[in-house]
Amino acid sequence: MLRPFEIHQPEDVRGASALLGQYGEDATFYAGGTELLLVMKEGLVRYRHLIDLKTIPGLNTISYDAEGWVRIGGTATHGELMHHEIVRRHVPILTNVERKVANVRVRNVGTIGGNLCFAEPHSDPATLFLVFDAEVELTSQHATRAVPMREFFVGPFETVRQPDEVLTRIRLRPWGDRTHGAYMKFGIHERPTLGVALAVTLGGAHTTIEDIRIAVGCVGPKPQRAEAAEAVLRGLPLADAERRLDEAATAAAEGLDAISDLHGSAEYKTEMVKVFTRRAFRDAVVRFQ
């Protein structure tokens, strides 16, 4: 049985933040609880006050704004994301990734904000967002700030979010017609062994790689962009990419600081990152036809 706590029902973000400030380390924000309740059950954290973000109206809305960004409210569940028309139309790869998060029950209850804030190193959406222009909006009772997704994750279970900041929204810019991508995840346990997200933008009538973004998740302490790998492929004529793909895949796998654990040995993970980077690239390129 969980240890006793109180549940607070703030009406707005400011109120939620103020409550957190008031109760300090005894309190935490609570949305889906799919990660929080687990660590509370394990006794790894103790909170006497849960501040329910789901009672704040409008925090789970999904919209497409006038500047062409998709906005996703922090308390939107994975299920809501995967079924939403705006996501399907503008960011279909996110629909597919959300479809495969955890299991159907977690998808019904778990929220995207909670997923990002918990910063469990094996998060699929976190890895995917890194290959988009994306940012996270953090709001406290005092201020609001936007943090680029690439700067949000600090390490395992650690982000730049301060305790009294609510992740109110994620903004991401959908890919244009000249960009396609792929997300590959692999694993046999509840949490994946690795995730590779890749986005390639073609220029020059689809003959050159104008831009490429590769992110690897689960293997390192946080999901990260494989910049060395990107440098190998960026600017290449598409016809040359296949020839340099092994080199890029190897670059993606190195510098990840893979650690042997239940998900696989370090060598295995490193090898699989190479395999899935190659597959993701080929998968993305095929979509141009």
Binding site: L2, I7, L38, L50, V104, R105
Partner: protein, 168 residues
């Protein structure tokens, strides 16, 4: 002599919810999970506890038609909602088609995962009445069975789906 300090009173909340069509008014502690309330307060032991970390699907119940892991879902979240447990499926002596199909297709052995399986399957068929085999597998992924090897479970669910399941 040991002097007793009275423990601080634990917070409680009022919970109103509907379970298997019946309304209930309860006073509970916020920390109680839905499975604890179902089994311990409402006397409904059909929902089983297994992994306790929302991975195995054994404790699946439907809240407003959506499957949740009742072991990791606060009863507080079911306030004002309707919950369906395995006890709510049969109509008197008449088994729900899914229950009957599980029996007919020998889709259970020890039966421990079965309530969760059947409820997850019900939610699937309510959402997608004519699922392909792949869709059934994807939806049911996350409900674990140690006994049957899953084949019979898939057959039972496919049999109930209005159109015969086929691989597209």
């Amino acid at each position: 002599m040991i002097s007793q300090v009275p423990a601080a009173p634990r917070p409680t909340i009022e919970l109103h919810l509907s379970v298997n069509g019946r309304p209930h008014d309860l006073t509970i502690e916020p920390r109680e999970t839905l499975i604890e309330v179902l089994r311990n307060r409402l006397g409904l032991p059909g929902t089983k506890l297994s992994c306790d970390v929302q991975v195995c699907g054994t404790c699946t119940v439907l809240v407003d038609g959506l499957p949740v892991s009742s072991c990791t879902y606060l009863a507080y979240e079911a306030r004002g909602r309707s919950v369906l447990t395995i006890e709510g499926l049969a109509d008197g002596e008449r088994l729900h088609p899914l229950q009957q199909a599980f029996v007919d297709h020998a889709a259970l052995q020890c039966g421990y995962c079965t309530p969760g399986m059947i409820l997850a399957a019900k939610a699937l068929l309510d959402d997608i009445p004519h699922p392909t085999l792949d869709e059934i597998k994807h939806y049911m992924r996350g409900n674990i069975c140690r006994c049957t090897g899953y084949k019979k479970i898939l057959e039972a669910i496919a049999a109930v789906a209005e159109a015969p399941a086929r691989e597209r």
